[in-house]
Symmetry: C2
Subunit: 168 residues, 2 copies
DNA sequence: AATTTTAAGTCAGCCTTATTGACATATATG
DNA sequence: CATATATGTCAATAAGGCTGACTTAAAATT
């Protein structure tokens, strides 16, 4: 309650934005993200991979043919950091490179069949967790969930993920 | 509406749960969590601290007097891992320990004034990011956001965070 | 009273993922 | 031809996890 006296308690945006509420949200995010990534971690470990590998597989799968520089731009890590995981993924046959026909300095990245398969298995687990949460929380909550996530993200990346809510 | 032909294809929960939608959510979570944690990272770096320190400060601040074993249970890391950051925080005067009067093996953890101040500053930044996102997305979306986060979290931790939505 | 269990902490070594800095190579471009 | 760009590599460093092996102090059990 915490509202002294006045009749029309809170007008419309009745989420209180208390310090307590904010802290709680931060805590929820911490636990939720840990459980979310935990889903895939176990499977990755079977291949001797970590989260870094997952991210590479994920984004290459989502943007087939992307250049190394583009991947660096999305992941926001150094090329030395990327190099290690990317080399592993290429050596182990999950990703392949092809030089650009026009500009042969650029190398396009693709998932191999093996890579596609792993990507699918990783995504599947996490999808199930989220789908379950959507079921529990309801369609409206799911919509709100995505809207808030999108609002948290900086504009540049926001545009990259989804060109809008793409309603309907 | 993307609903082909048949009359009552999907009953009520008309969110499509497409593979694409799931992938998008995963991507949103990745970017959002990165931006969320990035807020605090800069400030932490000023003290030579990292995210691990933040988590300790956060949970001790939220549960003053908690024992080391309880903290380990929440963070789900080994005591050797915790030891490193906890020792630093104690040596640098952000956290203090006090032995339990009854069971003197147990040591209770508290934030010092310095610790409280840092915690507040860290939380403030992240609160602002989330509050802004709530403003953008609306009160209803904010509610849905928390509901989905809660549903993602395993039951044990879910109970720990918030004993329910604690409406009003 | 002696033994075992528990809470906390330490030492040593290893792994992953990130960093910076310095270079190397091939290819475009001016 | 000179310079800039895209990619890759070598080397060193750091944070933050991990396992395993102990220690110390205090409580609990037998």
């Amino acid at each position: 309650m915490a509202d002294a006296g006045s009749h029309a308690k809170r007008p419309d945006n009745s989420f209180t934005l208390t310090e307590e509420g904010m802290r709680q949200t931060q805590e929820l995010l911490f636990f939720a993200y840990r459980d979310f990534t935990g889903e895939a971690d176990a499977l990755l470990a079977d291949f001797g991979f970590g989260r870094a590998h997952h991210r590479v597989i994920y984004f290459v799968g989502r943007h087939p043919g992307m250049a190394v520089s583009e991947l660096l731009g999305i992941l926001k890590i150094t090329k030395q950091s990327l190099s290690r995981v990317l080399s592993q993924l290429i050596n182990d046959g999950f990703i392949l490179q092809r030089s650009d026909a026009a500009d042969r300095r650029r190398r396009h990245l693709y998932l191999t069949a093996k890579g596609v398969d792993l990507e699918r298995r990783l995504t599947e687990r996490q999808s199930q967790l989220i789908a379950g949460a959507y079921q529990d929380a309801g369609a409206e909550a799911a919509q709100g969930f995505r809207a808030v996530l999108r609002a948290i993200i900086n504009e540049q990346d926001r545009a990259r993920v989804a060109p809008r809510e793409a309603v309907e």
